[in-house]
Symmetry: C2
Subunit: 274 residues, 2 copies
């Protein structure tokens, strides 16, 4: 699976952060199995959810009804591991650093290659990820607190229900980033340009208005401080579809391991609407 | 000055609200001297400030340094009462319902025609007005509290200084509209499209952060309620340049009477950037 004549070592990854193809080769070879957030800044990364065809059609409907947390940036043909919208050479069976396998909602394996799990009826969804809009915020001159302290963004289950389908339902999960009011306004402008990666925030200010009891105790990720004069700003989060799929307990579901995303060939700017 | 063969009466204004040319004829004839906010919805209206040339150059620099409160949508040639950017037939000496004349900062007259005050060195500035973005907010489905109750938008002096020139300086004045957080986010998106009419808000949330002691006591306009679950959203306001000019006490200054604006030929959409 390694197309490189001289396989690179995992130690090479830091020298290759700007080189999409070289990083993909290391991941494809199983040499790099870690997190991807610091790799290839400016390139679109995506959340991966792979479902059997008899679940995939309904999941696409669920995405259609819930575009803020769940906009697919690519949907494969059944059984086809290629994702040409994201890059000609991408093979979803090898190009994610690590995968989690769920059967009937229960985790059964964590692997770095899907060849032995692949089936002719599997459909791949790649869903937009906030890495893309965070890069745009940074390029706009804003500071992102959890990145500054090397933490994972804090995420919260809310009292905002997703729009359900027959088998998929559950609460909207949000991520939170604190900003001064002026920076919050700028962040709304910047992220509005990226509707396929959650777009504009869905709430700002009072956390209790969306059912968050304690901002210091996120349901996922790490707590970050909201300083005096700042307001918490909440975006719909890609954990929403993950939680919804887990609740639905499909016969088989394969996801990326959290933090270890699929890296595309697209620049983030390809997702900007204007 | 009335180009109509049969002069219309003031009572006709309600029948003509959608007809820019007909409304302008009534104003030009001196038949209509009232407020303009309810007239010709969807058409750009502007604040008017007329200054002698020896003050005008510096005022243009002040506008350049303070684009949020003061973006000119038209600047005339000295002595020329025409404003072709806003409409081929507009004559600023007759086409505003009522004018206020200031000499050395003191009000000396209120008139409905400027012919006897006109001079060869007068430069007209037409500055963007929030009517344009309010129309866009309404078309986006948002409710604007002060309009719903038939009041004037509440306005406040802030502790945000404008960027001064030699003779022009003073605080930024803001207007306030309360929204739910979700509507506030939408309002930021909508008004961001209109940078020449104040654009995005400059603050939201805590009024004291920008020096507003009591939100229930505006410095100009009427108080409006901020209901539980709503946040106040603050835009830079066209009163800022008016106050700055008054403070500078130019030898002569002519403005529109507040609320009685210059009506252009442009649709509001002509000011949208995307």
């Amino acid at each position: 699976m390694n197309d490189m004549s001289t396989p690179a070592s995992a130690g090479d990854i830091n020298a290759l952060v700007g080189d999409v193809i070289a990083v993909r080769q290391l991941i494809r070879a199983g040499t790099y199995t870690g997190e991807t957030s610091a790799l290839v800044p400016g390139i679109v990364q995506g959340n991966v959810a792979i479902l059997p065809e008899d679940w995939a059609d309904e999941f696409l409907l669920f995405c259609h009804r819930n575009p803020k947390p769940c906009t697919p940036i690519a949907v494969s043909e059944p059984g086809n591991p290629k994702l040409p919208e994201l890059g000609d050479d991408i093979d979803v069976r090898t190009d994610v650093p690590a995968y989690r396998i769920f059967q009937n909602g229960e985790p059964v394996a964590e692997v770095t290659d899907l060849h032995e799990w692949w089936r002719d009826d599997l459909v791949t969804f790649v869903l937009g990820c906030s890495f893309s809009f965070e890069q745009a915020l940074i390029e706009a001159g804003l500071r992102i607190r959890h990145r500054d302290i090397g933490a994972t963004v804090p995420m919260y289950r809310t009292n905002i229900s997703t729009s359900a389908t027959h088998r998929f339902s559950g609460p909207t999960v949000v991520s939170m980033r604190p900003f001064t009011p002026a920076d919050a306004i700028r962040a709304i402008q910047v992220t509005s340009r990226f509707p396929s990666v959650h777009g504009a925030p869905i709430h700002l200010g009072d956390p209790t208005a969306i059912g968050i009891v304690d901002i210091a105790r996120p349901d996922y990720g790490d707590a970050v401080e909201v300083r005096p004069g700042e307001i918490p700003v909440f975006w719909a989060c890609g954990v929403t579809p993950q939680a919804v799929i887990e609740n639905a307990r499909p016969s088989l579901c394969i996801t990326h391991r959290p933090g270890s995303m699929l890296i595309s060939n697209l620049p983030n700017s390809a997702l900007a609407t204007f």
